[in-house]
Symmetry: C2
Subunit: 351 residues, 2 copies
Amino acid sequence: MMTRARPYLLTRSVVPENQESPIWFLHRLRFVPERYVFRRNHFPYPLRLPDRLTVRGLVSFPLSLSLAELKAMPAKTITAVLECAGNQRAKFSPPPFGEQWEGGALSQGAWTGVPLREVLARAGVRPGAAEVVFVGADEGLRPDMDGVFSYVRSLPLAKALHPDTMIAYAYNGAPLSLQRGYPLRLIVPGWYGMASVKWLAHIIVTDHPFTGPFQSIDYMYYPHPDRDDGKRPVTTIRVNSLIQFPLDRSIHRRGPLKVEGIAWTGRGVITRVEVSLDGGRTWREAKVSRDDHEPYAWVHWQWEWNADRPGDYEILVRATDSAGRTQPPHPLWNRKGYGYHAISRVRVQIT
Amino acid sequence: MMTRARPYLLTRSVVPENQESPIWFLHRLRFVPERYVFRRNHFPYPLRLPDRLTVRGLVSFPLSLSLAELKAMPAKTITAVLECAGNQRAKFSPPPFGEQWEGGALSQGAWTGVPLREVLARAGVRPGAAEVVFVGADEGLRPDMDGVFSYVRSLPLAKALHPDTMIAYAYNGAPLSLQRGYPLRLIVPGWYGMASVKWLAHIIVTDHPFTGPFQSIDYMYYPHPDRDDGKRPVTTIRVNSLIQFPLDRSIHRRGPLKVEGIAWTGRGVITRVEVSLDGGRTWREAKVSRDDHEPYAWVHWQWEWNADRPGDYEILVRATDSAGRTQPPHPLWNRKGYGYHAISRVRVQIT
């Protein structure tokens, strides 16, 4: 009989499919296997997948590209963290409405595709272009508005032309699965996942800001519980960390305990990971192992704790990046619950 | 391409394997399929499974029974809820240490086996017997004590002789899987799951109370955070309910909303399920559908809510059983976090 247990995706909803990665159990992994990548959808899976990708709007040469044509262009592979903007939403107090992600709306893998700017160069972006709009093939209802909507997002032109923003057709060396956005999806390394439109059908270059609901209603930080002023768009991934071991509220026999996890950022690279056992008064530096050529990848960190005295402890972990950003002691609450990146905490009991 | 999403077990730990049932997504089910039954283990899966079940101690005729011999005895099938005593532990405030079960350490299915009392009758229980001890084939370390332990539990003689306490060899009509306790396990309908010893190897009739750590340290209600006085054993399942729909913190378009879920009890049957939208000041009765001949099974309930006014709401649900027990407004906190059965609550936003 098979005795090997394995973790599963953590189901938040079935239609649309929203499932967390069992990230706590994927130790020292660089490429999260396809089956363990989180799934975050606004709508049911599209019934008709796009067979061509069109590029139009403010371009000199509108395009219609097949998967084969894109694969014939020079390819690029980037290992990048993908994190849902709502990751850890359940940890805000009070928790905002929406999917109650605990921490596994987060994955990492190798994306292969064509830099978007190569495609835009072929199309010839015309003067006056300000944004690039990306239309996914998924559509459906929103809980807060009447009508049928597609999933549509835009990028400022500068971000669209960034050499690492790509149209991806492979994940970890294999064609995208349906769940990953087959046949083509956008990948915007360093930005939260909402930017990386799946089942990419149309690219439209425009001269004005796009204001669809996934751009101007969702994925905005609203600092106030009941007013919209002060809102600003969710973009770059904040500096963050995850404690994979020990698990929260777990019980351990006294002795050496290896505290470990990952840390990541959307801006620059992780420069430091620190651990505190006294509520943040003093910090000790964890050992960080990184892959130097992977700026968008997470780093692994570990810290050897000689847990020889029984008692209840809280382990705090904070990461710092080369942009000088550090995880704050308290979450920056916002009405829709995006960008949680407060200091990571687990409580453990040593017996 | 496959577009059908399905829920998965919700992983709490891999070794030993502890995974919740995705119970929120199993609507109107009477028999939870094998793959969706929660897994709660104290130790890794046993490497050697028992090939015979021995019955000894205060008996006139010690027995050694094979699976085939047990299957040749008159069989009985009972549909019963199985709930881990620590289910919903994560909802206590503060959450006790241990597996952070949210609500899916709960399943239901049809168990087939031989009433334990038939086996005890064959062995001939001798005068002076007080308890029956059940030894599982799983063993390993405890976080709080030195040494290697087997999973061992006892039942008072009266409960062991109850006609529904059984040695089971099938679940939903199929042989037990390894995870369910193959080849034989105890099933104690109406008691929390810790009593239903898996991989049952030995049955020992004794004249004194058994005091192994899974009997006298774990599975006791400790009412005080730092003293052991007042402790009493965890036994019967408390009256309880689960709201399966809507999900906590979910967002819904205004209009009719079917609130639904399950309710169960270890004593008598569920007689009433009520819903409140005003914090428990007033209650309305939900529609309960039951299977009359299944006293240990959960009932399904539903309540049609005309959610026509936008706003944030809290839905409260409480069940009452024929023993006169009702879910209390606040959880009965205890140090190890057993028996959570406070009124069920979800918050929803109507837009």
